[in-house]
């Protein structure tokens, strides 16, 4: 690598700045303000929308392709028992343990 120590540290500082600003500015400007009711409703759907948007590719894709073949994509199959356990028990620890266990077993068997 051709970067000097100072260049890497500068890179880290720049990255820190552009990561922090989008995290902070909305909170700074919106938190003490009475929001428009429409905007409030819209924002109330953001958590579900973001969570599933992050999950989609993680569950349906593996190694850059769309696949649910168990040997390539254990994540999709482990999601099924995880989903069931979350729905039935409402317990995050059991869900995480189930998911991890399912992936471990799939890797062992398939």
């Amino acid at each position: 690598m051709h970067y000097s120590n100072e260049q890497i540290i500068l890179a880290i500082l720049l990255m820190a700045l552009v990561t922090f600003l989008p995290r902070f500015l909305p909170l700074l400007f919106l938190s003490r303000r009475k929001l428009n009711p429409m905007l409030r409703v819209w924002l109330s759907y953001v958590p579900v929308a973001v969570l599933t948007a992050l999950l989609g590719p993680a569950l349906f894709m593996a190694e850059g392709t769309l696949t649910i073949q168990p040997s390539l994509n254990p994540y999709f199959w482990a999601a099924l028992p995880s989903f069931a356990v979350a729905l039935l028990t409402r317990n995050m620890f059991l869900t995480v343990l189930t998911g991890m266990g399912a992936v471990a077993i799939l890797r062992l068997l398939v």
Binding site: M1, I8, I9, A11, I12, L13, L14, M15, V18, T19, P22, R23, F24, L25, P26, L27, L28, L30, S31, R32, L35, M38, R40, V41, W42, S44, Y45, V46, P47, V48, A49, V50, L51, T52, A53, L54, L55, G56, P57, A58, L59, M61, Y75, A78, A79, S82, F83, A86, R90, N91, M92, F93, T95, V96, G99, M100, A102, V103, A104, R107
Partner: protein, 254 residues
């Protein structure tokens, strides 16, 4: 009296409620667990492209963004300029705008400094656990919020340093399925949020749309585009639902 004010301010910022500290720990536990394999992977890759252990530590301390850090390592390996690196990082992390906005109505009780500290440690995962908590309880105790955030951040820093030092444990972690801790946590948090059929519908659309967009165009815009579209569909559905189901009292004359 002066002492009393000082104490109140101090406990307001810091964390002396034992019960809330324990709740904060348990709230953050899946995140703490889930960051380990990813932080490890980052540490290994970072040293492989020539970053020192100190650089790895500094990046995990100051940037604290999993996907952006992993991408940065790839970019440094291909010798890009700092401007490219900065712009890419900005674009990858732009999705946090939406998360910060979504949490903002619940964080009015924090001081500006506390809000800055909270934002500094706002990640996909801490966002997910907080959004559940804030839904259940307005004005969530600061103690619980910051214990979760600080422990998650510590886990990220420690695991990336360990990865940079040892660089070999990763396959063992995968054999235990530890890399699935975060997806499984997301599944649990998602299920807890499905309060109405509308939420279920929105989740299904978002799951399919994000997969389609990522498959079709790759990159990092898929999260933001999917969120903008599906939250808007949610808003339209809710307005429509309220227009057709509002009790007469609230509708006034109608």
């Amino acid at each position: 009296m002066h002492d009393g004010i000082f104490r109140r301010k101090f406990t307001g910022l810091f964390l002396f409620n034992k019960e809330e500290m324990i709740r904060g720990f348990f709230k953050g536990f899946p995140v703490i667990l889930g960051y380990f394999p990813i932080g490890f992977a980052f540490g290994i890759l970072a040293t492989n492209v020539g970053m020192t252990v100190f650089h790895t530590f500094l990046m995990s301390l100051m940037v604290y963004a999993g996907s952006a850090q992993l991408i940065a390592v790839g970019l440094l390996e291909s010798q890009v300029g700092l401007l490219t690196l900065t712009i890419t990082t900005f674009l990858v992390n732009l999705r946090h705008l939406l998360m910060s906005a979504a949490l903002s109505p619940s964080l009015g009780h924090l001081s500006r400094l506390q809000q800055a500290l909270f934002s500094y440690e706002l990640t996909d995962e801490t966002f997910a656990v907080h959004s559940i908590d804030f839904n259940k309880e307005k004005k969530t105790p600061k103690c619980r919020i910051f214990v979760t955030n600080i422990l998650a951040h510590l886990s990220w820093i420690v695991s990336s340093i360990l990865g940079a030092w040892t660089g070999s444990l990763l396959s063992d972690l995968e054999a235990w399925g530890l890399d699935y801790a975060l997806p499984a946590m997301f599944i649990a948090l998602l299920v807890f949020q499905l309060r109405t059929m509308r939420h279920f519908f929105i989740a299904t659309i978002s799951l399919l749309l994000s997969t389609y967009l990522f498959w079709g165009m790759g990159g990092h815009w898929y999260v933001i585009i999917t969120t903008l579209i599906t939250a808007t569909i949610g808003l339209i559905m809710e307005k429509w639902y309220l227009n057709h189901n509002t009790p007469d009292i609230e509708n006034g004359e109608s």
